[in-house]
């Protein structure tokens, strides 16, 4: 089976935060999505991320590794979380991606991993 990274992108900051009741709906939607991933054996790994302002970037310059405040890419929208799933092909992965974007209500990027699933 192939593996795909589903990453969630959203704008950060108080200006973009949805109202509390919508956040509640998103959380229960994502929870239901996670349950479905697990019960169908699709789940490999997943995680939610702290805001991009908590990121730190390391960069090799000559022999030295420079440490700077992140994120690596400046911009309004950042990766906010991700899933790694198992799927037969892109169409199957896109079906999961559609469910993910409906649940999270933000864009989802689907990208193949180089490694196939072990089982």
């Amino acid at each position: 089976m192939k593996q795909y990274l589903l990453s969630v992108y959203h704008a950060e900051g108080a200006d973009y935060a949805p109202p509390a009741d919508e956040i509640q709906q998103i959380m229960s939607g994502v929870e239901a999505f996670n349950t479905e991933l697990r019960s169908t054996g699709t789940w490999v790994f997943a995680g939610g991320l702290h805001p991009s302002s908590t990121a730190t970037v390391l960069r090799l310059e000559g022999d030295e590794v420079l440490t700077t405040d992140g994120p690596f890419l400046e911009g309004k929208e950042h990766i906010g979380g991700f899933w790694v799933i198992k799927a037969a092909d892109l169409d199957a992965a896109l079906d999961w991606g559609r469910k993910a974007t409906r649940a999270a209500r933000v864009p989802v990027e689907v990208r193949p991993l180089q490694e196939e699933a072990q089982d």
């Binding site: 092909d89 193949p112 180089q114």
Partner: protein
Amino acid sequence: MFREEHGRAVAVLARAFGDIDLAEDAVQDAFAAASERWPSSGLPPSPAGWIITTARNRAIDRLRRESSRGDRHAQAAILHFQEPPSEEGPVQDDRLRLIFTCCHPALGITARVALTLRLLGGLSTPEIARAFLVSETTMAQRLVRAKSKIRDAGIPYRVPFEADLPERVRAVLSVIYLIFNEGYAASSGERLAREDLCIEAIRLGRLLARLMPDEPEAKGLLALMLLIHARHPARTTPDGELALLANQDRRSWDRRLIAEGQALVRECLRRDQPGPYQIQAAINAVHSDAPTFEATDWAQILQLYDQLLAAAPGPIVSLHRAVAVAEVHGPSAALPLVDELKLERYYLFHAIRGDLLSRLRRQAEADRAYRSALALTQNKTERALLTRRIEELRTPR
């Protein structure tokens, strides 16, 4: 023969080996072998079968060479594909699979067009590059990147799931129509390399209509392309100028293509599941029924545009509908409809405004509109027509 067989052979091999790149290379090898052998030895009893068998053997050779480096997929594919492929049924499905793979929405639209022409159409990379006015290197890179995405992202080689089918069919139809329009409208430069694209799009349209007999929009698209292409001989005057519908010599319309297109439109009407391509085909069928421009049944055309606007709303449709309004209710009724459209970047918007203003004898405004149109098109024949319109404004009628 070449293009028809190319798509068929690539499709069969891609299914057998699960690798589009390998299939394409092997088919290319087979055609090269054919062009070496056939001139002296004559055509084999079944050229199509010969191509597929030869390509299959070449593909197995390639895989054997690679499998010595320990590729278990190659061994599996060799075992899997011992039987020679049968002639029709499954082959049709193979080509349908290939169409859906080439037109997958995960690929960019330029990549979809290039892949469809290369794999299904059998056009060479230089030919496609010429038709789209990009360098061979650019086109070659575009194709390599698209094929890598198919392989690495795991774009499947199959007819889509039932639930995805409507969206996926629309994607295929739009690729074919885009190829046709690129050939028809030729946004810049020379025309010759381009007409080939119209013919290729019609060939692909025929193939799709045959492979998806229950899809009325596939018939609609084919009918639309046939009816438009039937007017091709009349689109240029003997001195190479562009002739619009109003000024075309209708005797040079291709009656055979019109008959075929109209028969398809009637079939669609009987089925009564209208869609945007079928309605546009019906509009063109009304045009091709009229012996002269003046005798056109504009009321019926306007009615069809109302239908089209409901099925596929958009400013371009509104613009064309306004032309029909001008014929039914006069230019003063049409002008406000045109003015409210946000199409300032589209040359035809200004050209149509110019025509309406000129008919309303508002010469100075018409002149400005034609000049705006002129600034937005690089196409030689379109520019020549607009220049003539500007000159005509100065000569009182």
